[in-house]
């Protein structure tokens, strides 16, 4: 666990990197999430003070966007596309298979902390669906067997 002094130091360093940028809050939140894996609550007042915003405003921005998370994910993040083009190729059945196999629902993490399952609405792989993203790696034409293989490889 990081203590708040360490958090403050790293957040301040990130804020310094974004000085002078027009509308810097999203790039700052992205940078913090990349560094910490999530956005620690301790970071919000520091950002707010620096950008002359209220803590509520920073929280409001952070909570508006699906990407920003308050808590760390599991060791691996599996994103499955739920959008129309992938649905036309059986994404719903695939998602049901994934939830069964992992024993979790959307936005949940397996009990052993290995895998977090997230829905995504379109990865731009609409002519080779169903599509998935595993720890940032794109996968097309995913079927139940391929998914089991991917999940098996993560454990």
């Amino acid at each position: 666990m990081l203590d708040s002094a360490q958090t403050a130091e790293r957040v301040t360093e990130i804020l310094d990197r974004h000085r002078g940028m027009e509308g810097a809050l999203l790039p700052i939140l992205h940078a913090i999430q990349e560094d910490f894996g999530h956005i620690p609550q301790d970071a919000l007042p520091i950002i707010a003070r620096d950008l002359n915003l209220s803590r509520a405003e920073v929280h409001g921005v952070m909570s508006f966007y699906h990407d920003f998370r308050e808590n760390p994910t599991g060791n691996h993040v599996l994103k499955l596309c739920r959008a129309e083009a992938c649905k036309a190729m059986g994404a719903d059945d695939l998602a049901a298979h994934a939830r069964r196999e992992l024993g979790i629902d959307w936005h949940e993490t397996t009990r052993d902390g290995k895998v977090t399952l997230e829905p995504v609405f379109c990865l731009g792989l609409c002519a080779c669906g169903p599509a998935a993203m595993v720890d940032g790696k794109l996968v097309g034409r995913v079927d139940a067997a391929k998914l089991s293989q991917i999940v098996g490889g993560l454990k």
Partner: protein, 508 residues
């Protein structure tokens, strides 16, 4: 030996990186002098990963490649099990009119030398010799309309910004391509990023803007990386910076990354997001062209609109305008997706019928079952049944059939699709992604899901309620998210009533 293998996301998702590794290691093993270029995709997604080998006869295509097919690339190419012949002779590619996508797949996306050798920068150079008003007039004359979906004349938007008086103006490229079935922006940014940069520089000259932003969705990691590298290439070459190409005014570009909010594809929501705020939609007026980013005059254009400016400037408005149908001028990159045999990107003049696109070009469904419906224009577009397949592809033509072409994505569904479930999904998606500012969208979408569920349980009295709700959302919402969600819902209900006629006993 020179080999091309796409770096495009779709190719990568189908194993292109593994093929690249296999080619490189085999070349090293056999002592072959290899030049491997990671290019954009030619758009034939069913053939990805598509490798091309340079020969005296031209570039020969091989695909879809598997690691097992790699060794044969080093032998007799004609005998290769995946040999497709010369790439440029492939019928799917040959029948297209590639104006905006002319270089995609052909060149190394980050090679300025390749770019200029294939006509790059000609448009910008011509624009530098003209007055801003002349550039605006040329784009207006071309008939180019916003390719993001709204179809607003690009030249008129530029004119408004150009004539506005302000100390700073901005060019914002909307690369928040969130609609399912659309990937043209992604392919363009990954395959020919310098075209977008050139287009933005032309827009900057025309409007007197000195700063541009490309707002790319976070779901596009490859496009983000390539665009960042391309901006660096353009800055080093003096295309961007304190003076465009050394004798123009200043113009520079910054890449920004979205954070997973679909509504940020709406221009005012995007501007708020760019300013570091919640992606809440703004009421219009004021138009972004007068009060946009940080309250300054701002052009907000889709990737394809901006990337079409270079070819319009290079070849002239009349060349571009010469293609198309009615008030839909030029070409449109069709994105054929979903349950389709030959899916991918197909750039062609406006005017093909839906039947030609889905059955002739797309080859029908991937599953081999009959086509039931095609959703045109993404999650906010209408479902078209086979009986409307004679509709020609154009803005007004689709509007006349209670639909829209949107960003020109088409999702094909076979007869196993349940249209009630698709209508429910449209409402569910709207509820998840609503920015929350206006009531018809925020509350209406939630009530919409509940109402569709009632119909699913066999309560046919809920059908008029759903129709009424859709009317409220359509006319009462602030932006296209709430305003257009009724398109998929009502088209599903109108064209596929059988899917909504659930018997009570069967459902219970």
């Amino acid at each position: 030996m020179k080999v091309w293998l796409p770096l495009d996301s779709a190719a990568v998702a189908l194993g292109a990186d593994e093929i690249a590794e296999a080619i490189q290691s085999l070349a090293a093993q056999r002592g072959v002098d290899l030049t491997l270029v990671r290019n954009g995709s030619r758009g034939m997604v069913w053939l990805e990963p598509l490798a091309e080998v340079e020969t005296p006869q031209g570039r020969m295509a091989f695909g879809p490649m598997t690691p097992e097919d790699v060794p044969a690339l080093f032998g007799d190419l004609a005998a290769h099990p995946k040999a497709l012949g010369r790439t440029e002779d492939l019928p799917w590619l040959k029948a297209q009119t590639r104006l905006t996508f002319a270089r995609v797949g052909l060149t190394d996306p980050l090679s300025l030398q390749d770019y200029t050798a294939h006509g790059g920068l000609e448009g910008l150079k011509r624009a530098l010799g003209m007055t801003p008003a002349e550039v605006v007039a040329e784009v207006t004359e071309s008939g180019l309309r916003g390719r993001g979906g709204a179809g607003f004349p690009t030249g008129i938007k530029w004119k408004t910004v150009s004539e506005a008086k302000a100390d700073r103006k901005y060019i914002v490229c909307n690369a928040d391509e969130g609609d399912s079935a659309t990937f043209a922006d992604r392919m363009l940014m990954e395959g020919d990023p310098l075209t977008l940069i050139e287009g933005m520089a032309i827009a900057g000259l025309a409007c007197g803007a000195t700063k541009g932003f490309v707002y790319i969705r976070s779901e596009y990691p490859v496009a983000i990386r390539i665009m960042q590298e391309a901006v660096a290439v353009a800055q080093r070459a003096g295309i961007l910076g304190t003076s465009v190409l050394g004798h123009g005014p200043a113009f520079d570009i910054e890449i920004r990354v979205g954070a997973g909010a679909y509504v940020c594809g709406e221009e005012t929501s995007l501007l708020n997001s760019l300013e570091g705020k919640r992606g809440i939609v703004r009421a219009k007026p004021p138009l972004p062209a007068l009060e946009g980013f940080l309250g300054k005059p701002t052009v907000v254009n889709n990737v394809i609109s901006l990337a079409s400016a270079p070819v319009i400037m290079a070849k002239g408005a009349s060349h571009y305008k010469g293609f198309g149908l009615g008030r839909s001028r030029g070409t449109i990159p069709l994105q054929i997706a979903g349950n389709v045999r030959y899916g991918g990107l197909y750039e062609i003049a406006f005017g093909l019928t839906l039947d030609q696109i889905v059955n002739d070009i797309g080859g029908g469904t991937a599953s081999g079952r009959p086509v039931k419906a095609v959703q045109v224009g993404g999650p906010l577009g209408a479902y078209f049944p086979a009986s409307l397949f004679d509709t020609p592809f154009g803005y007004e033509e689709f509007a006349g059939k209670d639909g829209l072409i949107g960003h020109a994505g088409l999702t094909v569904f076979d007869d196993s699709a349940d249209m009630l479930e698709m209508a429910r999904f449209a409402m569910e998606f709207c509820a998840i992604e609503s920015c929350g500012k206006c009531t018809p969208c925020r509350i209406g979408a939630v009530r919409g899901v509940e109402t569709v569920d009632r119909i699913a349980r066999g309560d046919s009295a809920a059908i008029p309620l759903l129709t009424d709700l859709c009317n409220t959302m359509k006319s009462g919402s602030l932006c296209a998210l709430g305003g257009f969600t009724p398109y998929p819902v009502m088209s599903a209900l109108t064209h596929f009533p059988d899917d909504f006629a659930r018997a009570k006993e069967a459902a219970e």
